[in-house]
């Protein structure tokens, strides 16, 4: 479905010349800085997959999305999405994909949401029945009834992202690229957006490539993760394997009956402390959960509560970044 082969993108950024006639001189007198945004990356995504694409700011995530959607031309390498080369067959390709940039809207600012949808219907040549059916379904799934007739500039961020998501899917694309769709959105709206993304993937079989900094998005939505840093793929695999490789530490939270007891147990590293609480981590490959519990239970303090948690995804990603020197 999506094939990316040895793709590199180098930005040639024109250096601005100084002086009054700078704009005119820049026509023949050129100086550039080069920045490698994406460096020889390769991956495949199968039909119906939902893949997380993560990495620090400036790692090359958005550049990849823009190349996959035909906005940017790769400097080297090949991209095929559904059998089409995005930058060479941009217009045909655009009919097969939907793209949402969480940080900016693709809708028209001054007019009601539904007017933008009507314009998209004509641009994408969506048949009347498909348009009406999709509008009805998305209005229901994204609870858009209350703001469909409001101008985009009057919408809250969460409403705006919902409208953008619906707009990106009006023409029934088989692949969607979501670039930080939940950024800045409140918890309730986030959950609704996640449910929607899950539904279009599971019910409609839409392939989803999702970039995000929100690790809850990762945990709740994707099975497979691509981690990019400094333009290179640092990890490509399941969240499960990522957890195994970089999430070896488990967390032990203990609530004591007395105030601030000090416990020094080999193998347990204290990571947080509060008047009646202590949190420790331990390497699950070196110490079993049973042994860790035993070490705590053998201490001469009364324990009110005790829980053991897997490493959360944020910690895992932190470990990965540290391990790769990112």
């Amino acid at each position: 479905m999506i094939t990316v082969q040895k793709v590199t993108k180098i930005y040639k950024i024109p250096k601005r010349l100084d002086g009054k006639s700078a704009a005119l001189r820049s026509l023949w007198q050129r100086a550039y800085d080069e920045k490698i945004a994406v460096n020889d990356i390769s991956f495949d995504i199968g039909s119906g997959e939902i893949v997380g694409y993560i990495g620090p700011n400036g790692a090359g995530k958005s550049t990849t999305i823009k190349m996959l959607s035909g906005i940017l031309t790769p400097t080297a390498g090949d991209i095929l999405v559904d059998g089409l080369a995005p930058h060479q067959q941009r217009r045909e390709h655009a009919k097969n994909i939907g793209v949402v940039f969480g940080q900016k809207t693709s809708l028209w600012w001054d007019v009601p949401v539904v007017d933008s949808f009507r314009l998209l219907k004509e641009m994408y040549e969506i048949p009347d029945e498909t348009y009406q059916e999709n509008l009805r379904v998305y209005m229901d799934m994204l609870e858009m009834g209350g703001f469909l007739n409001q101008p985009v500039r009057q919408l809250s961020l969460g409403q705006r992202v919902k409208a953008d998501l619906a707009a990106a899917l009006l023409h029934n694309p088989q692949t969607v690229f979501l670039d930080e769709p939940t950024i800045g959105v409140d918890a309730v709206a986030k959950e609704r957006l996640r449910q929607f993304i899950r539904d279009i993937n599971q019910i409609r079989g839409v392939t989803v490539l999702l970039t995000t900094h929100d690790m809850v998005d990762m945990e709740k939505l994707v099975n497979r993760v691509l981690v990019i840093d400094a333009g290179r793929i640092a990890y490509d695999g399941t969240i499960h394997r990522l957890r195994e490789q970089y999430g070896r530490n488990r967390r032990l939270d203990v609530v004591f009956a007395e105030h601030s007891p000090h416990i020094d147990v080999p193998g347990l590293v204290q990571v947080a402390a509060a008047p009646y609480r202590r949190s420790y981590t331990f390497n699950q490959q070196e110490m079993s959960a049973e042994k860790a519990l035993g070490l705590i239970m053998n201490q001469p303090f009364t324990i009110r509560d005790i829980t053991i948690q897997e490493a959360d995804i944020e910690e895992i990603i932190r470990n990965l970044y540290t391990a790769k020197g990112m």
Partner: protein, 267 residues
């Protein structure tokens, strides 16, 4: 065509939000028309032979130029090159490139639909007021009126194409402020908007006869005022067609080059 109609509806909904602005612009248009009327009256009083046309024809030409200027003058969202430059700088050009339409066609539809709506709400009332109260003449025949509309359409294509090419230049240089000032000056001077081209020195007039700028004001206004007979109208419309096609093609080819090296700002 359905798509273009959707763009027109969109612009109509969007632009009619700012009704007070339109009233002010029509007022500005009327003041500008009255201003040029006074100017040419004064010049005629000094030396009637100076104008090279009858006074009613001259003031009709000048006032109609001001009416057209209400939509043709490249400022704000009317200036295609400014929009393109802002889109690249803000990174919002990527949403245009996600659509299943050519970029040039998308810019054309967006701008042409805006111009069409502005013509209805600005030029038509200003023209009507000028005809009723300032002595502006009607076209000499229905043929001239029809030819004028065709000519204005072609004038728009030439104006759009020049602006689009300038916008592409801005994508390469990332700064077109100074070039756009020079461009606006050239259009104002060489298009016949401010000074009719027949008043230019012969050498300069010969140059302007070859350049595309006269397609924008000089040809439509001469058709409106009845300066051309039928054969000349066809010749001039052909000249506009040639430039419109050449410039649209140049824009299309240059865009393909620019797209290859496009850098969209921001994540």
């Amino acid at each position: 065509m359905k798509c273009y109609r959707a763009f027109v509806r969109q612009q109509l909904n969007s632009l009619t939000l700012y009704r007070f602005e339109f009233v002010m612009k029509v007022l500005y248009g009327c003041i500008a028309m009255y201003g040029v009327r006074c100017l040419w009256y004064a010049l005629h009083a000094q030396n009637p032979a100076l104008l090279g046309r009858s006074l009613p024809d001259m003031i009709t030409y000048a006032m109609m130029a001001m009416a057209m200027d209400l939509v043709f003058y490249p400022s704000g969202d009317n200036a295609v090159y400014d929009c393109m430059n802002a889109q690249v700088k803000s990174g919002s050009i990527d949403t245009d490139l996600l659509r299943p339409m050519g970029f040039q066609r998308q810019m054309l539809y967006r701008n042409a639909s805006r111009m069409m709506v502005l013509s209805w709400v600005l030029v038509l009332p200003a023209w009507l007021l000028a005809v009723l109260f300032m002595g502006m003449q009607l076209p000499s025949s229905l043929v001239h009126l029809a030819a004028f509309f065709v000519s204005v359409g072609l004038a728009y294509f030439v104006l759009f194409s020049l602006s689009f090419l300038l916008g592409l230049l801005g994508m390469i240089t990332m700064d077109i402020r100074h070039i756009s000032w020079a461009y606006r000056g050239l259009v104002d001077l060489l298009s016949g908007k401010l000074v009719p081209l027949w008043l230019f020195p012969p050498m300069l007039m010969q140059c302007t006869n070859l350049l595309p700028f006269r397609c924008i004001y000089d040809i439509p206004l001469n058709i409106y005022t009845g300066a051309f007979d039928a054969a000349e109208i066809f010749r001039q419309l052909g000249f506009q067609c040639m430039w419109a096609l050449a410039l649209m093609s140049a824009g299309h080819l240059l865009w393909r080059k620019v797209h290859l090296r496009l850098t969209v700002q921001g994540g």
